[in-house]
Assembly symmetry: C2
Homo-oligomer: 558 residues x 2
């Protein structure tokens, strides 16, 4: 058998692939598939981290973002926060090692969840420009600021520290972290869109932005209070998988199955635990170590059938209906209608999640036109056109700027029959009309469709909840739109009265033999008492319904 | 500042996330997002590996695939090949460690490229059923078969060997590998579709399949020869990135920039290397170690401007126009037209790639209907409907069964104006008609949109080449269809002659005073000499054009 390659020859070629080599070659999976997106990724990952750190440390975030165009297609991005800072020893790994972080292993809502984001920017920066990531950090217990320059060693997925030293110059007003990266990119307005949307979903954050051309934009707080910090939860029994359960059995310090079930899972009390054991016919005093495959299978099966409370919901941190409304009104002060919905939390595969909806209707987009903003500045986004509503997606308060058409949230929006709520809709496209639709999913684990976290996977439980929330919002919209329609008709009638008031006064004068002028004045007074209908709509509040009854009274009086 | 969380407290929570933990939690990224797909993944990853191993070892693949329904939604999948086997020491890591393999680090076409596939099935199997992966391997240098049972240790991303022993029972006819896995799944016909398509793109492979209900299907070879083995190439200078170049500089044993450029890159000769150095104004005797960032940047820039030969193309292994046609004719023996196109290779970001197209037109799908096959058995595939053509996508000979609408190959098909080639097409949807369209991309590195390798990223160079190839194929189709159209008209005229032959004979008889019967016989003979036009189309060959000239001759004679 000459010429054949043997198993031994194959064996020599087999080797380990480091996760950073993998992602360097597949950098599009991390979101670095074009220069515009790459630049946004750098801003986004740094800002998301800053917000997470501030929020978790109980500090109202004050964030500075600055983009400089170094030359041609090379940009530097710096993001500075007033968070707690990072201890010296952790800086290299946080910024220079993929799959490293504090958020992956706990069940609690946060912006980051993978331990990939910011280190992927280091990877991409050094790949495209060779420049190290620069980090400044000042922590409470240290007097000096620690400055670090680092690379990510792609072969090992470990940080290479080029420089680490305490510096005298204080760039912080208190504590904080600043990161600066130099990378290949292209500047588009989408960066501003991202910051604006971030400001909507994080109304307690203040963001100061300096664009490459020196333009400064301030996104102020609309709220001076942090949201209630979410708590960490234990796994919920619904949807727990065999392998996960087995690992939990191995790692538990509980001595019996009963205490294992009550200690290691959320929402299982003594009663439910006993019922699970009873149904599965596995004795509740079985030692976890003695659970074989058959027993494990039975217990998992029983867990799915027993009625167990929902997981605790204090692990979530929704924006809040009032806060979202306030945020949207701040951003779109001229909108006719701003309304929000938030649903009760639900659960998919044991993970709690919650949907919030915001509707901004009839906004005046003169401001956007003035800024030369184009709607289609998302490079891959062919969904929007002049007619379609604008869909603004958030996951755990983070704006999702790309892959709209692949996203489960979009799918849910398209699935709703918007014609029922007085909006135009062709087939199952996005509806059309002068509307911005905000959809926010928050969860302890958002199932993203790729490492770049741009689109939410279409889990049926999630789609269903989003649709229900949209229908709630749709009803509010519909009632406003039909009110507006009725008010429009009322207004038209008033105009007719006004137009003919002179003629009517003349005719009535002849019939009643009274002074025409006086009659005309009375008619005009009567009409002017209706003028507030017009004013209401100029104000743009959804609360005040047009006063149709009075209109009817006029008719009666006639 | 009480209540605040300090940097030190944050630091305690930071830890490493193993790549297997990451993918266990994100298993949908690996293709395990629903039970149907999960079962297919198990078959696919094992078959792809077997084909790669056989082909690389120079062995005509003979593969057995067996799916058993263990109970309810639990299936076992076994795949056995006649490849070279795997050495004992390598078995655990190949099947029980993510990101391990021989194909990632070399530039050469193969089915696998990530070192993730088969070990991800082990991960998913143990997660859903707790069952270990079982592997049998017999290699040339060992007399006995080695049997291994293993898990993937998710916390460490390392294999846990449960059992490894030499066994007496010989299950192989020579050497080979067999793998068996037990997992949560759902059985659908898509497994058969995958195997059928695999047989089309790998005409040298023999596959024996046993479905869960015991049905056996044999996919025979249509070719008794392996394709020419592809060679490994060096990186091409076009599109090389800063970080990659820097690493190459660090690792080279070349002593000067000149020899570095000629030794480490493909297609750079002495002449081009000198030109690059000249343009960049970096002396060609610079030591690689002395290259600073500025010099590196200049050299990379110069490399993109100098005219350099295409990369070598022997690293590719296309199906071949003739082979693909033969394959398609074997699969669709009743098709009217089977035709194929293969383009010259091209390059994206330094990677050679090549597009092949196959068209099967006017097939009789009675067979498929008989088998109760539904077109829409792809769970996520809403593209196909009764009217649309069927698109069959391949990447490096592997059928892509999911995410059709997200795929760059699909985008290219939709971008072509098929109306120009006599097919119906609504807007920029897939065209409609009784047609199967095969698109194959082969490359040393196919840019997939996710780890599950279901869709090709829409790189402009790739889209462009696919469109050009489709247009070539479209012209072939169009010339056949217009020929068919003309022949159809000819046939209709013949039918008219036949219908009126008696009346014509009568009239001619009166005019010429000859025997009506004889005249009618002559007319019918004349017509019957045209009957082969009908037969041609029954045969379904694109070679034989309808004989329009003779038709014109008849008209003249008249």
């Amino acid at each position: 058998m000459s010429g054949k390659k043997t198993a031994e020859e194959f064996a020599k070629e087999q080797k380990e692939i480091s996760v950073s080599e993998f992602f360097e070659k597949n950098k599009h999976l991390l979101g670095f598939d074009n220069p515009t997106k790459s630049l946004l990724m750098a801003v986004k990952e740094a800002v998301d981290n800053s917000l997470d750190a501030c929020e978790e440390a109980g500090i109202l975030p004050d964030i500075g973002v600055k983009i400089k165009n170094i030359k041609e297609d090379i940009f530097s991005v710096s993001v500075q926060d007033n968070g707690p800072g990072i201890v010296k020893e952790q800086i290299p790994r946080i910024f220079g090692k993929l799959l490293y972080g504090s958020k992956f292993h706990r069940l609690r809502q946060s912006r980051g969840q993978q331990g990939i984001g910011i280190s992927s920017v280091t990877l991409y920066s050094q790949l495209t420009t060779g420049e190290p990531t620069r980090v400044w950090s000042k922590i409470e217990s240290q007097k000096k600021t620690c400055y670090t320059e680092l690379h990510l060693n792609t072969m090992k997925n470990e940080p290479d520290i080029l420089k680490q030293e305490d510096i005298e110059k204080d760039i912080f007003d208190g504590n904080g972290t600043k990161v600066e990266m130099t990378l290949h990119g292209r500047y588009r307005k989408i960066v501003e869109d991202y910051l604006k949307q971030t400001s909507i979903s994080n109304p307690f954050a203040k963001i100061n932005y300096t664009a490459p051309d020196g333009t400064k934009i301030m996104y102020p707080r609309s709220l001076n209070e942090l949201p209630k910090p979410p708590k960490t939860m234990k796994p919920h029994p619904y949807g727990v998988e065999f392998g996960t359960f087995q690992r939990m059995l191995q790692n538990t310090s509980s001595r019996t199955l009963l205490s294992f079930l009550t200690n290691e899972f959320s929402s299982i009390g003594n009663q439910s635990a006993k019922e699970i054991c009873k149904i599965s016919k596995v004795p509740d005093n079985t030692k976890p170590a003695d659970m074989d495959r058959a027993a494990t299978e039975k217990i998992i099966k029983a867990m799915q059938t027993v009625k167990i409370q929902r997981p605790p919901l204090d692990c979530l941190s929704p924006i809040g209906a009032l806060e979202l409304e306030k945020s949207l009104k701040k951003e779109y002060p001229n909108a006719e209608l701003v309304t929000t919905i938030n649903r009760e939390p639900d659960v998919y595969r044991g993970f709690p999640f919650m949907i919030e909806i915001g509707i901004v209707y009839g906004f005046q987009n003169t401001e956007e036109k003035k800024n030369g903003k184009k709607k289609n500045n998302n490079d891959d986004d062919d969904e929007r056109n002049g007619e379609s509503i604008e869909l603004i997606r958030f996951a755990n308060r983070v704006p999702l700027m790309y892959q709209q058409s692949a996203c489960g949230l979009t799918e849910a929006v398209k699935d709703v029959d918007w014609r029922r709520y007085n909006l135009d809709q062709k087939g199952s496209n996005l509806p059309s009309g002068p509307m911005k639709l905000v959809v926010h999913i928050c969860s302890v684990w958002v199932p993203f469709m790729s490492e770049s976290k741009e689109a939410v996977a279409a889990y049926p439980e999630i789609i269903k909840e989003v649709k229900l929330a949209l229908q709630d919002a749709g009803r509010k919209l519909s009632s406003y739109l039909s009110g507006k329609h009725r008010a429009g008709e009322a207004k038209r009638r008033i105009q007719i009265f006004e137009r003919y008031s002179k003629e009517v006064a003349e005719a009535v004068g002849i019939l009643t033999k009274k002074n025409e002028k006086e009659i005309e004045k009375k008619i005009k007074d009567m009409i002017s008492s209706r003028v507030h209908i017009k004013e209401e709509f100029a104000e743009g509040s959804e609360e005040k319904k047009p006063e149709i009854k009075k209109e009817k009274e006029i008719e009666k009086k006639k």
